[in-house]
Subunit: 351 residues, 2 copies
Amino acid sequence: MTISDRSVGPDQIIGILGGGQLGRMLALAGARLGLPFDVVRRITEADYSDEEALARFAGDVDVVTYEFENVPARAADFLASRLPVRPGPMALTVSQDRVREKTFARECGLAVPDFAPIDSVDDLARALETIGRPAVLKTRRFGYDGKGQVVIRAGDDPARAMAAIGHQPAILEAFVSFEKEISVLVVRGVDGEIRHYDPVENVHRGGILRTSTVPASIDVSLGARAALTGTVLAEKLDYVGVLAVELFVTRDGQLLLNEMAPRVHNSGHWTEAACHCSQFENHMRAVAGLPLGSTSRHSDAVMQNLIGNGVDKWRRLAAEDDSVLHLYGKRDQREGRKMGHVTRLSPLSRD
Amino acid sequence: MTISDRSVGPDQIIGILGGGQLGRMLALAGARLGLPFDVVRRITEADYSDEEALARFAGDVDVVTYEFENVPARAADFLASRLPVRPGPMALTVSQDRVREKTFARECGLAVPDFAPIDSVDDLARALETIGRPAVLKTRRFGYDGKGQVVIRAGDDPARAMAAIGHQPAILEAFVSFEKEISVLVVRGVDGEIRHYDPVENVHRGGILRTSTVPASIDVSLGARAALTGTVLAEKLDYVGVLAVELFVTRDGQLLLNEMAPRVHNSGHWTEAACHCSQFENHMRAVAGLPLGSTSRHSDAVMQNLIGNGVDKWRRLAAEDDSVLHLYGKRDQREGRKMGHVTRLSPLSRD
């Protein structure tokens, strides 16, 4: 690789683990940066325990990133021993396990809902005494889009709740009667520079994100605290890339960490339409060791997910005047499956 | 192909002739619409006379478009006899030949610089009598980025000018001492709907586009006339897709057609950063028979081409706050070669 090659643009080959819409959007953002986009390699779930496949993958690329946090730690460690994995394995370890995640956040000085690790019905019964009801029982690992969790209310049987989540290692969390859900996306470069996008207000239904609105209707100081939360986590994790942090805003204005994701995030999809540099491009820049891009907005935005048959109206959405439509090219429509999203822009509101 | 497949998103496979940056940007825009982007097929120059290769290509895709106007008419006709080619062969025929182009524009009632077809030094000497000097001698075909043209001033030898363009079939055009160069991009759907982007002001140097600025510093009525020029041409050509029209603005406020391009155009690259729907996406929408997207702007913009070693500063540009950077991933840097572009955004100016 010669200096004059380098001068033309970024010449690294970035391997992306995972072949869903987030990986697709990362590849598209990388292409705009001049990264070769027809060499996006994917390994299937099955390959994660196949060290030969991992070694081949490591040999084909210069740096590895991923689009989801459930990459097995062993696979990540194997790859990290051979080439840079960004974000690093520590971010994976922490965010794969809800108990570790909340413990880590607490160690960072951040507020989290009361929680307790749960390995048995006895643990659960005891924890319900201290945490109270309602409370939420969640699997420690592999939960997404509301899967693997159950609310325990007054009179509910702890044994039945444990059965509902398949008796997996779990966490009990105090039920937060929040006023709003917000999230903040920060991006950290290899040189330690950190930038953040404006916090967004999220609406979930059935455990699935429906809309993200920016600006969030929160006051400036709360927004600044949210951004600081992301900054602290990214620094403590020695993080490289985009980190998503979901937070509850309680009625008394407290911020509680709900969860974090060591990757680009659904609640940041609006950035491709309303920002100079999207979360996808900024993640690829960070992973490639390039300067971070601007996280400023040129527009206000409301991102709406197109879920299941919600995508059927894509033609109508495509014809809307202020909409930016993004479809993921999935042929197979299923209930609850994310098929695309649309971002509606409006002129920047000024304070 | 079932109805439920169709409801998920556009399911056509669009074949793009030409493998340069415009084709690359079209493919990326198509991917965001959910079109399969790993099946972009390309045929090489050599293939255009290879009917077997063309037939194979036609069999693989549902509709054909192209990123440059020099697709041989015979290849276009061959493909058009088998599947939709958009824009149609008529647009190619007219825009491939400067004499046909200017004749066609004049038939549409549009103003063009004085011109005459030139096949010999004698033709040229005669034409110089009527058109006067300075005048510009251009090859009828295959000119781009200022190649294949020479200015003839007082005292210049016509024979030498003919030699300079290799004695090819040519056109002599009156030299327009313009005040500004502008261009307008219109997009026309299969249903005949036409939209246009705001006209932009272009600066060329050495025959190569350097910057495009929007809004152009022209008055509203002139902008409307420019848009009308594009609309008239698109309608008369029964056009489908994005059509670029370059115009001279003379000192007395006249608009003269310089040339048109039946494709997405360098002077429209800013649309990917400043509009809800870029020229690339709108071209793909039109070609796929989808509703056209909004051509409105959310920002003012200045697009600057990164030419030859101008791309060496890409790292600095990547770090700029209001810049949207786009690199084409070309490894081989040559003088005059377009390597990328950067669009600087600023808040929308209001009249």
